[in-house]
């Protein structure tokens, strides 16, 4: 009986207030879609980080005869430079940090370059001697790259020591800015959603002031009076967040997996399972915000 009564009242409230409810649903939908997008971007960043940070290496580029004079005054690095570097990498100080390293000579560098740029005009003009001989160093902990950089920078015969993660960090910074922007928009939209829900609930309460007056007179508890209004907000919020979940799901399966993943086959992208893990959070956030907004607004409107 109790539940039956509450749901009947809820149905009446929703029918009377339909256009406002629809606007609450739409605003919640859009704002939570932004929240979900930000979440997806963060997941994308995380998955790219684990994938690329493991692959990223510290590169020790040796001087070539084309290197700038001020860095490499003696021109092409000699065999001695190579053995000095090998000696240091094998030394007791550095060895514990290093997972593995290998040396790439001009010819190997040329092969790799030809493979990577085989559709590019530049491949025709590059010669093997122009490409740096390189020591590629994999670290046990990629965060310790500065140790390698410090030990080799300034050594004669070395053109540059570069942590490849610095290239990745730029990409991640851009993705992070994107997700921050999405979160800021989401925040503004959620704020307006909360205001809209408060207004809607108060309007709903005004429309039903006769019922509320009688409920108070006959001694209905506050919980009983407030519940249909709070549920009204929660239902609108839940529908909005379900739509947002659907939108996120569609973005992942049609845009990310259906388009991006086809275009960039060697990058790992967020998948449908990632979108599914976001769904409970979105539903919870939508329902909770709507419920709290409705609760605080109805409490201000109704006093014993």
């Amino acid at each position: 009986m109790r539940a039956n009564f509450v749901f009947t009242e809820l149905g009446i409230a929703i029918r009377r207030n339909l256009s406002m409810i629809v606007s609450v649903i739409l605003v919640t939908f859009i704002s939570l879609t932004f929240v979900g997008t930000a979440g997806l971007l963060q997941q994308q960043i995380a998955s790219m980080k684990t994938y690329w940070y493991d692959k990223a290496q510290v590169a020790i580029y040796l001087c070539t005869k084309n290197s700038p004079q001020d860095i490499c005054p003696q021109g092409e690095a000699s065999q001695d430079v190579q053995s000095t570097i090998t000696g240091r990498l094998e030394s007791a100080t550095l060895k514990p940090y290093i997972e593995q390293y290998y040396f790439e000579n001009h010819e190997q560098a040329y092969q790799t370059f030809q493979e990577e740029f085989k559709d590019n005009a530049v491949a025709k003009y590059v010669t093997a001697s122009q490409l740096n001989e390189t020591f590629w160093v994999n670290l046990k902990d990629p965060d310790q790259a500065p140790i390698i950089i410090e030990s080799f920078s300034g050594l004669s015969g070395i053109e540059e020591v570069k942590d490849q993660r610095s290239y990745l960090d730029q990409i991640f910074a851009i993705l992070n800015i994107g997700s921050l922007a999405a979160i800021s928009i989401a925040g503004l939209m959620l704020f307006s959603a909360v205001l809209l829900i408060s207004t809607t609930i108060r309007l709903s309460a005004v429309m039903r002031r006769r019922e509320i007056g009688i409920m108070r007179l006959v001694g209905a508890s506050n919980f009983y009076i407030q519940l249909p209004f709070i549920l009204e907000g929660v239902v609108a919020g839940l529908i909005g967040s379900l739509l947002a979940g659907g939108a996120i799901f569609a973005i992942v399966s049609f845009f990310v997996q259906g388009f991006l993943a086809q275009q960039l086959p060697f990058t790992s992208f967020v998948g449908v399972t990632d979108a599914l893990t976001l769904l409970p959070g979105l539903l919870g956030l939508g329902a909770m915000l709507a419920g709290l907004a409705a609760f605080s607004s109805i409490r201000r409107y109704l006093r014993v």
Binding site: M1, R2, N4, F5, R210, E211, G213, I214, M215, R216, L217, V218, G219, A220, S221, N222, Y224, I225, V304
Partner: protein, 228 residues
Amino acid sequence: MISLSQITKLYKGAPRPALDNVSLEVDKGEFVFLVGASGSGKSSLMRMILREDVPSSGSIHVLGENLIGIPNRRVPHFRRSLGVVFQDFRLLPNKTAAQNVAFSLEVIGKSSGLIAEAVPDVLRLVGLEEKANSLPSELSGGEQQRVALARAIVNKPAILLADEPTGNLDPSTSEDIMALLDRINLSGTTILMATHDRGIVDRGRKRVIELSQGKIVRDESSSGYEVK
């Protein structure tokens, strides 16, 4: 049952108190008329008893509850022991007579079995069993007030507050409502009725409390509308 001691109520900006040092006792089973000009404090007094408002000073006990100290969350439960009817009936226009009565039980969480039993009973008591499925707009004023009375007493309140219940009704319909109130009173419900209806008070020969400018100027048993 109802006990007010030196109640004063000051509203902000009002030149004089709405209630000025009012003390009264009403016992179980009494029928009391509350008379006085508009603005004399009748409605304020009713609001205090319903705990819709608290006095600025004084103490008030109703049904053993100290209404000054009662916590807000206990107020709804307290009100379940009181029934109220008004001059303007206050029925829900989109619900039938039976649904209006049932509503007051539904919102305090009564079971559907109890409601199915109590609603026809109380409609029979007020003589409206034939009109159970009529909307308020299809009922006469007297019938609407009877629905309101049915709603007020369906939960078997110890006290019934009636704020000018016959104010919108013609004399013969008013008599019907009074007869109904008498029956409710005879079954043990204490009734406090505010009214301007001289004829009803004079014929009732009941206790009359007269308010003027927020003060009790008369409190007599078996009295009339005016001092003879």
